[in-house]
């Protein structure tokens, strides 16, 4: 009888121990997602398709990204040669006709980049979200046939971010965001990003086709397609400078 009690106690202890060891926290999920999606350094060739009530515009660009610094050059005929440099909250634009560099006002960072549903901040910033938000695991759900963690993030006090709250659906196996809802402090849904294609590149999963819908606008969406991406390329010193814009 005594032996049975001890065995039951050991089994119970092992169960509790293994459960707590296997339980994953929201922070750990986000860290694993950041391992895939956060771009410490990258060179990206991409296409942006702006769709509005059946009409489409296509823009192509080459971006160099290093944390909160980015240099973007448009290559499609309409915008060919137009470049943007972002460093922290400063945004600079190069006009190819006049070959002139102008500092854009700060409010432009929140506006759609070249008319798209992605803001300049969305496009030119790779943020480590754990440094900006407090996360909570609110459930485990299935999304588009994939088991996902559902995570809610509220911005940390004092953090300067574009969205007060984010709700993310993160693939349990690949640790990649498949859907994200972005909210204002008022609770209003601002944008929904849906990842429709992911690919394993250089050993990490990365979203290569994302559709962004701005919920403040009707019948519009922007599809962002990664044509090629190189993680941690060698970026020469002085790349993120006004000189590089010209």
């Amino acid at each position: 009888m005594k032996f049975k009690k001890v065995t039951a106690l050991i089994i119970l202890s092992l169960f509790i121990f293994s459960s707590s060891a296997l339980a994953i926290t929201a922070e750990e999920i986000i860290n694993k997602r950041d391992d895939n999606e956060y771009l410490k350094q990258a060179r990206v060739e991409s296409t942006m398709i702006i769709n509005n009530a059946g009409r489409e515009l296509e823009k192509k660009m080459v971006s160099l990204i290093e944390g909160d610094k980015a240099l973007v050059r448009f290559t499609n005929p309409m915008d060919r040669g137009t470049k943007f440099l972002k460093r922290e909250d400063n945004l600079w634009m190069f006009f190819p006709d006049a070959e002139d560099v102008v500092k854009l006002s700060g409010h432009m960072l929140e506006r759609g980049m070249m008319g798209s549903d992605f803001s300049y901040k969305d496009m030119m910033e790779s943020e480590k979200l754990t440094e900006l938000y407090n996360f909570e695991l609110v459930g485990e759900v299935e999304y588009n046939g994939r088991p996902c963690y559902k995570i809610e993030a509220i911005k940390e006090e004092g953090a300067e971010v574009s969205y007060y709250k984010r709700i993310g659906w993160i693939d349990k196996e690949r640790f990649i965001g498949l859907r994200e809802e972005l909210y204002a402090e008022s609770g209003k849904l601002l944008k929904v990003a849906e990842v429709t294609e992911v690919e394993e590149i250089e050993g990490r999963w990365y979203p290569i086709r994302t559709i962004m819908e701005n919920k403040l606008r009707e019948n519009t969406s922007t599809t962002f397609i990664i044509d090629s991406i190189e993680f941690n390329p060698e970026i020469p010193e002085g790349t993120f400078s006004l000189e590089s814009l010209q």
């Binding site: 702006i50 509005n52 009530a53 009409r55 489409e56 515009l57 296509e58 499609n76 005929p77 309409m78 060919r80 040669g81 460093r87 909250d89 400063n90 006009f95 006709d97 006049a98 070959e99 002139d100 102008v102 500092k103 854009l104 006002s105 700060g106 409010h107 432009m108 506006r111 759609g112 008319g115 798209s116 701005n214 403040l216 606008r217 009707e218 519009t220 002085g238 993120f240 400078s241 006004l242 000189e243 010209q246």
Partner: protein
């Protein structure tokens, strides 16, 4: 004896020769074709003309060539304009650009009184004024600071300019100096500009000092002050139309130096005689607005105004733009001068009361 023009030509050829290998490695070719209608309305008559233009650009990493051909059916003339033909080299951190090139020192204002060439740019429009035969030396001090020196090759005058630019507490600050010596007059301009943000609004301003010297006749200084702001909003929730607004106030001392700054209005499509502005108050004060409303991702309407606060006369310049496809755009621009003939921005004395431009363009 080599003239300046032949010297620049020889240097250009030499540099072109030395960079042939690099040129062959990568280049981009593109251009634009457009057709349009221009109508100018005077009290007595209207002038209409249809035109076609083609613009071709060949861009290498260290050289750029751009040419524009335009055919004006009203004037029965075909013009070819070489916009850019320059080579660029870096020598120990200094970037040297030699040949025909745009020199533009914009900082985001609607009218820029401290630009290298006045009248060169307003409202993101461009005129031929900014394309000059020159050599420019540009030296970056760090990622946000640089100095540049320009000397121009022109038979009518000697002109050189200096610009120093930096970032101070997130404000883009520049000091510009331009000297232009000609037989009839010498003009020296210097000025300071700054641009940054106060909360959500963009703010900017400039101070300009112009010394206008006519041998044996006059030697006057003109001061000009400018402040401006811009802001943008999302309107009409459910549709998310964007509204961009910009306002700018200029205060300019009224004397001969005013002629120099009045030239900067040419970039806004308004050519004016400075003598019209002399008399009355000691300063000319004008207010400009630029409002742009995006109807959707493809089309927008804009409204530019230029108002004399002394007599209330106003130039109204509305515009409509629609990107019909990825490469095709329709633009409609109207300008209308309200006010009496004697007012600052009134029609008459050779100025039309209105003008209309409709243009369809295709880029490739």
């Amino acid at each position: 004896m080599l003239t300046k023009k032949s010297l620049i030509f020889i240097l250009t050829i030499t540099l072109l020769f030395t960079t042939t290998t690099a040129l062959a490695s990568s280049y981009q070719f593109g251009g634009e074709v457009s057709t349009g209608l221009n109508s100018v309305f005077f009290d007595e008559k209207n002038i209409n003309s249809i035109y076609e233009t083609i613009n071709l650009n060949l861009d290498f990493n260290n050289a750029n060539f751009e040419i524009t051909g335009s055919n004006n059916n009203g004037k029965q003339e075909f013009k070819i304009n070489l916009k850019k033909a320059y080579v660029r080299h870096k020598f120990k951190g200094t970037r040297v650009t030699l040949g025909r090139q745009p020199i533009s020192w914009s900082f985001g204002s609607l009218i820029n009184p401290i630009d290298y060439s006045l009248g060169a740019e307003a409202l993101d429009e461009e005129t031929s004024a900014k394309y000059v035969d020159a050599v420019e030396f540009h030296y970056p001090i760090n990622w946000y600071s640089n100095v540049s020196f320009v000397t121009e090759f022109n038979n009518s005058y000697d002109k050189y300019g200096f610009r120093a630019r930096t970032l101070i507490k997130d404000y883009d600050v520049s000091f510009n100096y331009v000297a232009q010596d000609a037989v009839e007059s010498d003009i020296n301009r210097w000025g300071l500009s700054l641009k940054g943000d106060i909360k959500n609004a963009g703010v900017y301003g400039s101070y300009t000092n112009i010394n206008y010297k006519t041998p044996m006749v006059s030697d006057v200084n003109t001061q000009a002050f400018m402040v401006g702001t811009d802001e943008s909003y999302f309107l009409n929730q459910g549709f998310g139309n964007r509204l961009y607004m910009q306002g700018e106030y200029h205060l300019v001392e009224k004397n001969e130096g005013l002629a120099v700054l009045i030239e900067s209005l040419a970039g806004a499509g308004i050519g004016l005689d400075y003598r019209k502005f002399l008399g009355g108050d000691e300063y000319l004060d004008i207010f400009l607005t630029n409002v742009n409303y995006s109807i959707n991702d493809f089309s927008s309407i804009g409204f530019f105004t230029l108002t004399s606060l002394e007599d209330g006369s106003t130039a109204l310049i509305p515009n409509y733009s629609n990107q019909l496809s990825t490469n095709t755009t329709l633009n409609i621009n109207v300008s209308y001068l309200s006010g009496s003939e004697t007012s600052d921005f009134g029609a008459g004395r050779g100025l039309p009361k209105a003008a209309l431009n409709i243009e369809l363009s295709y880029v490739f």
